[in-house]
Symmetry: D2
Subunit: 337 residues, 4 copies
């Protein structure tokens, strides 16, 4: 296969970003069809590609178009399941933005369908695994000179969130990245999770608990402490420190000039996630294109999406209970190892 012909389902903001990536920036793929339930959105998506892009208003049509080799799903989270299930049924590779689906039960259904089909087709868009810094950390951990990891401490800070952001979204929208990323980085599964609430910043809107401390225990006994702080008022600030038997590793921040001005030596912090992880999206989709053309799925799997959903449920439960909640994922099926 010389060029991967992609159908994009969902032409909102992130969908259009991915259309541009797949069609204009990355190597080896073209967008040949788009779908959106809103005709004008679909048209806007198609316009990014040119006159030979087909436009669909239904999932069955685009998934079963014989010109379409693979699907990219960028609808809202609640609308991920249907196109993913359709792609599995059609035997076509499908990349879905995170989350895989909005409930653990729906994720499980996808997992079961994919296993029943006998072929790995689904990849979930946990883009942090493609961040250069996280990969450098993983390389050091896997290199062995740091021994076993014992602890990790993460921060996930944003400047502010709008009033629609609710307390549980600190898990489902924010911590969801660390749920997957730290599972991948430490190569381990979560067994228990806990949320500790405390004093709230005055910058949090009415009803929002912010910041929150989330604690993860893994099968091998590792502990991860995550600070979620979405009204930090100073920057989008992602940190990760892994404490090992033979030393400690810190995720690098992106490189910026250091400046001396006004009696301070300063380096900028990002304002938002877009700049912080923009390169990761490119790497993520380029690798997906390359893997898909080889008939492989090497990125985050449907099983990873299911794990994330179950773990998120445990954290949301602990937001109310305050105690350690069990994460009952079960053994990873042979199919996903």
């Amino acid at each position: 296969m010389d060029v991967l012909k992609v159908g994009v389902i969902g032409c909102g903001a992130i969908g259009r970003e991915h259309i541009k990536r797949l069609h204009n920036k990355l190597q080896g793929s073209r967008v040949v069809a788009v779908m959106d339930v809103f005709p004008e959105s679909a048209q806007r998506g198609a316009d990014l590609v040119g006159s030979d892009c087909k436009i669909y208003d239904n999932i069955e049509g685009i998934v079963n178009d014989s010109d379409v080799d693979a699907l990219v799903v960028t609808t809202p989270g609640f609308a991920h399941k249907e196109p993913i299930m359709a792609a599995i049924k059609a035997g076509k590779p499908v990349f879905s933005e995170k989350p895989l689906a909005t409930t653990a039960a729906d994720c499980k259904e996808i997992v079961d369908a994919e296993m029943a089909g006998g072929k790995k087709l689904v990849q979930v868009g946990f883009m942090r695994r493609y961040d250069k810094g996280y990969r450098q950390v993983k390389e050091l951990l896997d290199g062995g000179t740091f021994g076993k990891p014992l602890l990790a401490k993460c921060t996930h800070r944003a400047i502010s969130v709008d009033p629609s952001y609710t307390t549980d979204m600190a898990v489902t929208d924010t911590a969801i990245h660390e749920i997957d990323c730290m599972h991948w980085l430490l190569d381990d599964d979560w067994t228990q999770v806990q949320v500790i609430m405390g004093a709230d910043t005055k910058h949090a809107h009415e009803g929002l608990k912010d910041p929150q401390i989330m604690i993860f225990k893994s099968k091998k006994g590792y502990t991860v402490i995550l600070e979620v702080y979405v009204n930090s008022n100073f920057g989008y600030d992602i940190n990760c420190e892994v404490v090992c038997e033979e030393g400690v590793i810190n995720l690098p921040a992106p490189a910026y000039p250091t400046v001396r001005k006004n009696q301070m030596i300063s380096t900028p912090i990002e304002q938002d996630w877009i700049n912080r992880f923009i390169d990761s999206y490119d790497v993520e989709l380029q690798e997906w294109i390359d893997d898909t053309k080889k008939g492989e799925v090497n990125g985050p799997s449907a099983w990873d999406g299911y794990i994330a959903a179950v773990t998120a449920d445990g954290l949301v439960a602990s937001q109310t209970s305050g105690v350690m909640e069990d994460v009952s994922v079960g053994e990873t099926p042979e199919f996903y190892r």
Copy 2:
């Protein structure tokens, strides 16, 4: 009073260090008497001062010597209470190395005796309050431009410990510093504490849980997360990050040259606490001398020593229970405000 005439009780290693400080390095004090139950220790202490230093083998003698203006207690922890009580009875100022006493009950007895005497006399040797870096952080916090503190994250890492170090000493010997220091830094009292154990480093000796995560909740709702890791194998590494409403403050590490060598840019970390906090001891005792000459006690009080003991009890209980344990200190008496 031109010169503060000090009697030092306990002439072991730390005692002799303090004798040299008080007599030779700091301004405004002289050591006029020493006491130790071991005559040769007492003699070694006295030898640091010169021929006119009196030597005692009992507490009553040195405490009630009319030449002695104030006492410094550097006996082992279990032997702190007796000389402190004697000093209170004699109405003389007394500086005791930490801990104030080894049980909360004994600490409470000292507190009660001091209050009954009607005059603040006791200071406890929590030297971190005198560290330049912690003071810089406190100044920023108190300056108001960072708003309310919400969270703090600390690490207390050592290279290794000897086989006599037991799991509870992670609280009583190690975390004890943060128990007091963070209480002072955040200007708040602890209400609940929890210890989370996990995977242990292979460098920990049989039976020792290492590392440990300790969690503190305060009256105002602040959360402190402390990593105690005493077999880190890489350095003596003290960190403290305070997350506030308007920004985040990090405790500075001591300044060392940065070097480029072997494809690395590196800065040293201390090997042990002696270098890390040596300046703090000087500042601590100089301020104690100056305050004592003015009839004041401005450092950590007997009440602070009592708080530390009660908090440590809660943490030790949680090392076994694994759940949040209450810290019941009660309201700070007017006497200590």
Copy 3:
């Protein structure tokens, strides 16, 4: 023009890298022809592309092939002039690796030919202008909040060089990057240059002066101090500090994890230029493709190549004389402004 059809002249190591970039990694270009005086080299270059790549053994052939839209010259430096002159004659855009040519006279001849042709066609491969960090510094400088630049200090350090590296190559191979890059960054021309020699490292081979300090004075009075140190024994270490009226800006180093190990906090330094500037090559050629398709030349021009050659001559002269040498470039022709 949908796809830029490129002919690559010179199929050595750097040539083959560029063939892969142009054909497989970047967007909007294909390699349709290659040329090398060694048939097996040409074949190796063609093999990277596939069966429909034409192979030439002479410059006239590839330059005048009507299928070739633009040329990329990656022959050794002494063999740059001939293909560039041929491309100008054919009216085709040509990207040449640095240096433009090996003497100032040859560079001038190219400049004159290009101006006579009346159309900008030549771009020189000074890739530092495409480095993310240098671009961040330039953005800050051009943003105005730092005022006028007054001084800059650069280091260009490598771990070691092989015995064929001679003292003048510290200028022509090493400093050549800063000669162009600092001229671009400060938006100014050099008027005088000086080299200061001193004690040599024992790691320098017989006859090589290393390190060397090079000083540049600009028309606007700016001073640049460059340390060239090619047997630094520790890393490939590129630094640039620009001292301005309102503050100081430092070029960022690439981001790597910071690690704590063996009583040190450390961050890696690159081993060689390949990793340090690999991203710059991609950006450089992608922009060249995009510009060329629009009929523009926006990168380093033949005039910049000529400036670099004249400046290098001054520095080489000062390596012997030790005094300030004039750099007589003359006014930038209207054609190149």
Copy 4:
């Protein structure tokens, strides 16, 4: 000698600071006499000590007072020579603030007198040798693992200077510190110096050249590049990088908290030299007290003061000539080795 009885000559700002240091802060000295040509200044100095401090209005009196063991000279620079010569004549140790004297000839006269007396008595107040950071760098250099030093780069930046600061003061008031300090750090003597002027900051007052680049060549062939920039507008910023055969060493900046605020990670820079080097003054005078009591002079000698004066003359000459100027100090006399 139990306590060193000091006479302080010159009771201006720096004199009074030293009186407080010697009398109240440091160990082992008392100020027993002060002298100033202005009676009210002398009185203010004496008042810092108490009623038993003698007051003199002439040099002969205080120098020859049999109660005075040693002298500290804190008059303006032009008035250093007379009290130093008197002290030498009286055979009494004398600490003089820098400069030793304002001309090389006067410095030479002091050197000759001291040698004629046959006993080292004079120490000059180059306090940077007592800065903790510089001492850490020296320790690394002397430790041998970095090999031979080859180059050093220094910055000496201040926020601003008042209109009385003239171009030559960039040498005599500012660079004078690096002249001595780098000579001590590298353990070598200067042979040639050069000043390079360039574009001036708009913050420099009329007639002042700022910044200036100063270049030092040493006997062993080391090169030092010093940036003097006294209207930097951002901070008091002292840096020193020593480039060696086996690596590079950077002087540490003083430790301050790092803060995250307003999309920046920042650390403060000092506003002025007082904070930056205040600890150095304490160490310097404490060591002088201790050495003097032992009959030794281990700090910067009269010969170091003479070297500084001759080197400064060379730099001031080069400020006008622009070329390398010779520094003719001659061999260090056996007396001063």
